[in-house]
Subunit: 469 residues, 2 copies
Amino acid sequence: MLIALPTILLSGEYAHMSRKTSLSGFHEWLPQERLVELHVLNTLAEVFELHGFSSIETRAVEPLGTLLRKGEIDKEVYTVSRIHETNAPDPEDTSRLALHFDLTVPFARYVIENAGHLTFPFRRYQIQKVWRGERPQEGRAREFTQADIDVVGDGALDFRHDIDVALVMAEALSTLPIGQFIIRINNRKLAEGFYQGIGLTDTAGVLRNIDKLEKIGVEKVSEALQEELGASPEQAKLALALAQIRAEDSSFVDDVRALGVENELLEEGLTELAEVIDQLYKRAPGTAVADLSIARGLDYYTGTVYETNLVGHEQLGSICSGGRYDALATKGKRTFPGVGLSIGVTRLISRMFSQDMVQASRNVPTTVYVALTDDDDWSSAQDIAQSLRARGISTEVATKAEKFGKQIRHADRRGIPYVWFTNYDEAGDASHEIKDIRSGEQVSVDLDTWMPPTDDLRPVITKVEDTAN
Amino acid sequence: MLIALPTILLSGEYAHMSRKTSLSGFHEWLPQERLVELHVLNTLAEVFELHGFSSIETRAVEPLGTLLRKGEIDKEVYTVSRIHETNAPDPEDTSRLALHFDLTVPFARYVIENAGHLTFPFRRYQIQKVWRGERPQEGRAREFTQADIDVVGDGALDFRHDIDVALVMAEALSTLPIGQFIIRINNRKLAEGFYQGIGLTDTAGVLRNIDKLEKIGVEKVSEALQEELGASPEQAKLALALAQIRAEDSSFVDDVRALGVENELLEEGLTELAEVIDQLYKRAPGTAVADLSIARGLDYYTGTVYETNLVGHEQLGSICSGGRYDALATKGKRTFPGVGLSIGVTRLISRMFSQDMVQASRNVPTTVYVALTDDDDWSSAQDIAQSLRARGISTEVATKAEKFGKQIRHADRRGIPYVWFTNYDEAGDASHEIKDIRSGEQVSVDLDTWMPPTDDLRPVITKVEDTAN
């Protein structure tokens, strides 16, 4: 008997995007999709730990006052209250609890609270769910997982950490089954210095408009700079010329200099960005570019800023963003500068599923299904399973001695590749056979030594290579 | 120079319990405490997967109506609303969202929604945070992590799964650095059949009172049975006699029979419990007892019920509880019976810290700190780190060529055991030495082959053996 157990494409009927969800914006993966998510999360954690980042988690809730510090983001926040609080919430009460909307703000609060217990520069990674009450669409969920790394210093933080965190993320993203990506890097000092140098003093306003470049285009940004900020046509032209500079090595420095603007802050930014790009170009070629259009408008970054696109999926938006804060947190006169990046894991994974980017070798952790010849063999079958598990082989045991065909079909439906059969002779001695459901091949095996091929030990997650072209 | 790097006791100044938390009931671990939690969670996940359980996660929120189905638990629920909903919440509106208070109710909803995509019996594990608005105390947090396994069938579920899940949890708990535990097992059919047999018809009422046995004692329960439920002194005596039966093997059956009660449901329960206990006694001796006082009052279990105590920490309450539901979920005429157990991870870990039960070999994932002799060596030092990481050795690189003593002290404060030094001769050829900070020993090493002892590759978490006695 040969039962086909094909490689499972995590799409079509399996894909979450095509299933009905009972709560819009709240993704829940099927077990086989969760295998992919786990693979992604475990891979990220492994890379982060190899680079000396410690795991932490923060509580899901913060007082509203903590969350509001960062700006206008309050409109997207979920507040939390005990069910018996039936009074209308007081909008002025900032001690009310709310679900965190990112991992940076809670981390800053954690650093302040635990500064006495941490050693600086402190390297942490944090993989948790966050919540935002935004209108759901692809790439924008109400509950989603972020994977952050940050390095935070006490008083000062060497600039080399700006290079380091980008290298770590380049390595982490390269290890995932997602294909090519580009980390686009800019520097706030460079941009702000340039705007000051051409006489545009509302640098935040310029950044906010430059941030819309991809969405609305050069013409409209130029208009907005002139109408909203009173820029001259020449100033607008220069600001836009800067934003159009892009290079994978430090040749961008000459392009900026060619615009003829002189400013001390600009020089500082040019030096920093050149150093980041040179190291990325050298150590992780093809993963990063200097892109002077990157603004990251709403966030309070003060130096290097990063955004990341998945090549061929640019319209998805950034899958990994971040930057440098001169003051990630402050405690009295003490300042904690930081630099870090955050991967939008749910955004990335949703795309992997909706675009058939990834496949799993099977649906379940289980490698072996131990069949029963007789109902009374259950306890002996548990012994067999225990022996296999001791060698790291995931094993389930049938509960009933149904016909072998039925037991095999059950294993097949579950997605388990091997079925184990045991016969006892009249002296009670056991002999064992194993069937590979995919090939139909059944062979005698030794209980104490049998191992599956390495690729069958755990589900293997791989990128689907594009064979259409 | 010899700098001591002692094994870290995760207690005293390190322990969370002695730190101030800014939000009562919401635990946050220090990085070195989180190492212990990660060890526990990874160990559990590994055991669950070896037994063929698939990971799933459910969203953090459910409509209030879904959560209320289970009973009176609503008083402990946190509701969630978008910040701009400023009207008073309508207490009657069960479509309002709330944070889940356990993982069973959301799992039941998940099974119903995804039944068409699952293969039954479906084995899942789920490790997530849950929230309850209870008054915080030791063992009772407002945000805490649960680790659940359940097997759920479509229409029917073989009784052997009741044995299986207990064996999985016995193995999982044995693998943790927590010392001895006892899974106390009872059976609702046994208890209800017995109460019916002696003429007590309000079996739920009896169970509710028996559930208080440990808290208020035999006398008070006897009084309550007579006063609240109208039991005769003889009926109360028999109900209490049943609750005092305890055995690690199926000898409890004779003890029950000796009470002279006959009832069909009782017989069914006796047979089931005897089968569970016999297998536990045989396959995981010393981990389980039949304990006929276990009631698990509020939950809608219908057969086997489990509670687990950590030996010597009984006052902490159960660290792993669960049972069998005839109908974990229903969808029209379709019924999904289930059986499962849930570990209270946060309760367990808080205890491990507050009672100095566990130690970590170090505070950080990092094994090697690459020192800099010259600021310009940073990129070469990154090459060295990359080479070590390729062999799975967690490595950090210094950012500045400070005096070696200062670089070593930094590694020491971080808790990193090894510092790597590289010298370049005039021809530019590198020679490498490594210092073990703990012993002070410094030796020449080969970059391409050096490996730390296995115990230094990752932080090792072990139980503190009680040497006081």
